[in-house]
Subunit: 435 residues, 2 copies
């Protein structure tokens, strides 16, 4: 980590910061080409292509896609195989995520005008959602909880989970257990581009969904972007993870170092920033960081991420807040003697972690907040995944005879001024009828 | 209009419907090429390109972009020039839109766990938004109201309006009056691609915004799509307008015909559908429609739209509701003897107009609901423009010492299971410290 004493007044300060963030979400040409070819296969051949690709890419040979659906018996086996402690941990996390997301529930509403006309808004769930859970070296049950729980609270009728089979041709017990905890309706052992395209177009076996959630590698990311061209929505564009820590001398340097490293271990392109009013804290964190780094299994990845990252010495909290709002970090940890100043002033961030005992990893698993958050400055315009990601609202109006008599002439005039005679006429005919 | 007695059971029923909707939002190659070239000019040359393009394309010659900003004196003049009746109508519409959107306001919240840890969510406005208002033959003050009012309620600090100068080198009085009614902060006489790019990148004079709203021609649509590649959000992808009317014998055929025509006059690609349990109603609407069509100034456009549209005879309300939810219309008018059945059952639609005295044009101007709505089936996943379009939320957590002791070991286990040792370590260090 570079200890650069940078000034936010520097003309190029923010563009320099962003340089680290440059990220081509479209993938390189080779990734694009492979993805397009597989998407096209699934679109044209459905189940047939799914069977072929699952054999080729995930080494699982089946005769029909229905064999790729996880059975009740398999779910039961997963339930029985998982250690009680793991069950307890996943249940705790699920319960906390449930409680937090339940608070996000909005209510439908309506009101009546003096003339008896009524107006309202109805919140409805997205009927059918897909949830992708990556495979690879580890299982990611947290990803199941973070998406399936709000989907269930929202009332989505179909929650379809796809995850690649592992070497044993199975989905890990933890994922299956997490899925059964939170009401996933169907689970398929299908991975990568095939899974995303299957959910996009539907095949003879896999249902088409309206929105796809979940992380993945660059092939999955490109396949999700292609899905949007066919009218299927996605959670959000995925970018490298970011953490900004604001610390003054009241912060614990060892804790801060561990938080910076927890973000850095995600990938070499992770963006880690330390902002402080105290040079001593920056130096202490740096010392701690070097020490802790040595003991990490993902040391190499974390080191590369840390090399790209910056420490910024600021004059005061005000300068710091302006910087943070301009940078709009995905994760923001604040450990200062006046955290309220930042909590009140923050306008752009994904999720905020306050004080010395709130590590960012709490939000990844069990504090209850969602861990899918806007990166790359997107928190200036987007929220993280939340209950609203699984719903949409419909507006309603029912105008009475008196109501249209009250507002009709204004509508007529505005429609006419905008050159839309038929719009006007729809009111005129009704007003005439009431005379 | 074709009176086709179609069955929704037909395998190709929905794909046939959608065929009418096929719509290449990316524009043709020529549009893409022109747009990209202008976007690139503005990006590289800022004000200089804006001045050049405004002279070339909108025939307004200026020496500096600051001359394109609408002055206080000009606003005052607009205020004085507008007829009192027009002011009254615009004020009525503004007030109703304000009242409706105010009800959409969500509250920030927080709660405390038994261990004193607290969790919450804070709703914050998008700092800076751009609003495009098209020029052309007519002025569209309704577009100003529909975007600037929710932006103001949300608390957006900067609301920048761009609209092309007319032949007199001015923006129409109605637009300026509407803008001053609802707190627009800056107004520029800049149109088309130049306006969208100016707001995307910012120039020496025009501020960069975080999200761009408003309708426009295909050049504006492509420029907005390009804006998203540079991290600027947009309201929603624009598609041809749609109206689905569900009518039984309790409906007024003449009113229904006027509503279908009000949608049809938007463009030859507008999609207009009549669904009914009664063949008589379909025939009566058809007769009325032919009569009313003759008197429309936009007869030619409306005729072409009507030719592409369909009437569908359904067996009963249940079949009708399934069809409507599958089609997911932008506008949905329901005039039946059991409207509640539809209101309760509707899950996919932009805005719903209930009963014989609620024309769709009321929603375009003055009922209070927003007129920017999801087309092309997008109401399956998206809401129309609403207060949330101008805000985003940040999640918060502040965990106490007892709190991290309560949930720490679960986080450790989950992090370890997912192969993320540094995530685990951030908790371990804190737990050790508390021992």
């Amino acid at each position: 980590m570079n200890i650069k004493i940078q000034s936010t007044k520097d003309k190029n300060f923010f563009s320099d910061l962003k340089n680290n963030l440059e990220f081509d979400s479209s993938g390189n040409n080779e990734v694009q080409k492979i993805t397009k070819s597989i998407v096209s296969d699934i679109k044209r051949q459905g189940d047939k292509a799914l069977i072929k690709l699952t054999g080729q890419l995930d080494h699982l040979e089946v005769n029909s896609v229905s064999q790729l659906e996880v059975s009740k018996a398999r779910l039961q086996k997963a339930f029985e195989s998982i250690p009680e402690k793991t069950k307890k941990d996943l249940k705790l996390a699920a319960e906390r995520i449930y409680n937090y997301h339940l608070k996000q529930k909005g209510e439908s509403w309506s009101y009546e005008d003096d003339d008896g006309s009524s107006y309202g808004q109805k919140i409805t769930p997205i009927d059918s959602v897909g949830l992708y859970v990556p495979g690879g070296k580890a299982a990611y049950p947290s990803s199941v909880l973070m998406n399936a729980i709000p989907a269930k609270i929202a009332g989505c009728k179909e929650i379809i989970l796809c995850s690649p089979p592992n070497k044993e041709g199975e989905i890990a017990n933890e994922i299956l257990y997490a899925a059964s905890l939170c009401g996933v309706t169907k689970i398929y052992k299908v991975g990568g581009i095939q899974a995303i395209s299957g959910l996009t177009f539907g095949t003879e076996t896999i249902p088409k969904v309206y929105k796809i959630f979940g992380p993945g590698n660059q092939f999955v990311t490109v396949a999700k972007q292609l899905a949007t061209k066919f009218g299927v929505a996605i959670d959000m564009p995925a970018g490298p993870s970011e953490l900004l820590v604001m610390a003054d001398e009241s912060a614990n340097a060892s804790f801060i170092a561990s938080d910076l490293l927890s973000q850095a271990e995600h990938g070499a392109d992770s963006q880690v920033l330390l902002v402080s009013t105290s040079n001593t804290i920056i130096e202490n964190v740096f010392t701690e960081l070097k020490k802790q780094l040595e003991e990490l299994p993902r040391k190499e990845i974390a080191t590369r991420a840390i090399q790209n990252s910056k420490s910024i010495l600021v004059k005061d909290f005000k300068e710091s807040l302006a910087l943070i709002n301009e940078y709009a970090p995905e994760h923001f940890i604040v450990c200062t003697k006046n955290n309220d100043f930042f909590i009140e002033g923050i306008s752009n961030a994904g999720s905020v972690f306050i004080g010395n005992y709130t590590p960012e990893s709490a939000g990844d698993y069990a504090s209850g907040t969602n861990h899918t958050l806007p990166t790359n400055g997107y928190s200036k315009t987007y929220s993280g995944v939340n209950l609203d990601s699984f719903t949409k609202s419909i507006t309603f109006q029912e105008i009475t005879k008196t109501g249209i008599q009250n507002i009709g002439s204004s509508i007529e005039l505005m429609a006419e001024a905008e050159g839309l005679q038929a719009h006007k006429n729809a009111v005129t005919l009704r007003l005439k009828d009431l005379k």
